[in-house]
């Protein structure tokens, strides 16, 4: 899953709102990609960033779905 997937899932599990989970997953994927690129967009390939965002969005949404299914709060 990589860092966007792991962090996206973890952040998604913190909310019951699917859109918020997806958004946090997407944002964290951008941060994670930049972290590995030493905080320089010049070192980031567009495809790499897009894949990371998609993974982050999916993981965040999945995290929120797990929260809805597995928790009452």
């Amino acid at each position: 899953m990589g860092l966007p997937g792991i962090l996206g899932l973890a952040l998604g599990m913190m909310t019951r709102r699917l859109w918020l989970g997806a958004m946090m997953g997407g944002l964290i994927s951008i941060v994670a990609t930049l972290l590995f690129a030493h905080w320089d967009f010049a070192n980031v390939a567009t495809t790499e960033l897009l894949i990371a965002i998609v993974v982050g969005l999916c993981a965040g949404t999945l995290g929120s779905a797990i929260r809805i299914k597995g928790a009452t709060v």
């Binding site: 792991i6 962090l7 899932l9 973890a10 599990m13 797990i66 929260r67 299914k69 597995g70 928790a71 009452t72 709060v73």
Partner: protein, 233 residues
Amino acid sequence: MADSPEKRGWIGRIWNAIWTPAVMFSSGFLILSGFLAGIMFWGGFHWTLELTNTEEFCTSCHTMETNLGEYRETIHYNNHSGVRAICSDCHVPHEWNHKIKAKIMAVKDVYHELAGTISTPEKYEAHRLSMASTVWKKMKASDSRECRNCHNFDYMDFTIQEARAASEHQRAIDNSMTCIDCHQGIAHSLPQGYQEEYQKITDALASETTGKLQQQVADGSTEIRSYLTTQSD
């Protein structure tokens, strides 16, 4: 009541929350979140551990300046190929169990930095032999494990080595010697009386090994006698 929830402090409330069964979360949710937390903790732990293996970290203490200066004069710092061995390559094992042991033992370095045990050149020189001796003993006992992470007799081409080096390496293989037997002072200056000290280490380790062998023989003597008696019958 003294322990009623209303009168508890924040530590008491946290303690209570930790030990109260989670009724809001399903087992699946807790397992998944625990798994994720485990991944992140393990990643963070490894990342932090690797940060303590960097040259910058090792030499950030004042007392390590002498070591650093000496190391910078050696082939492990500056050479024709640009391949380097930093502090952790020689002083921190790669294998997990040995690495964690080395990291725990390294806590004493923090104590000695704070206590100023080797804070002046005079103090450093006074402790140089004992510090070197400790490292040599570890290397001799581990068959120079950290050297062998990069150097391996199996892949040494003696034909392109200097004649003396090739001859000495062949002698080392023939006599089951280890790297540190000859290469003391490869990264730091040698103290006075180092040869006598190294001989003491070699003798001490040899006697330990002999003692263990003799103990094994003594432990197994009854079995051996019994076996021989059975065979002769």
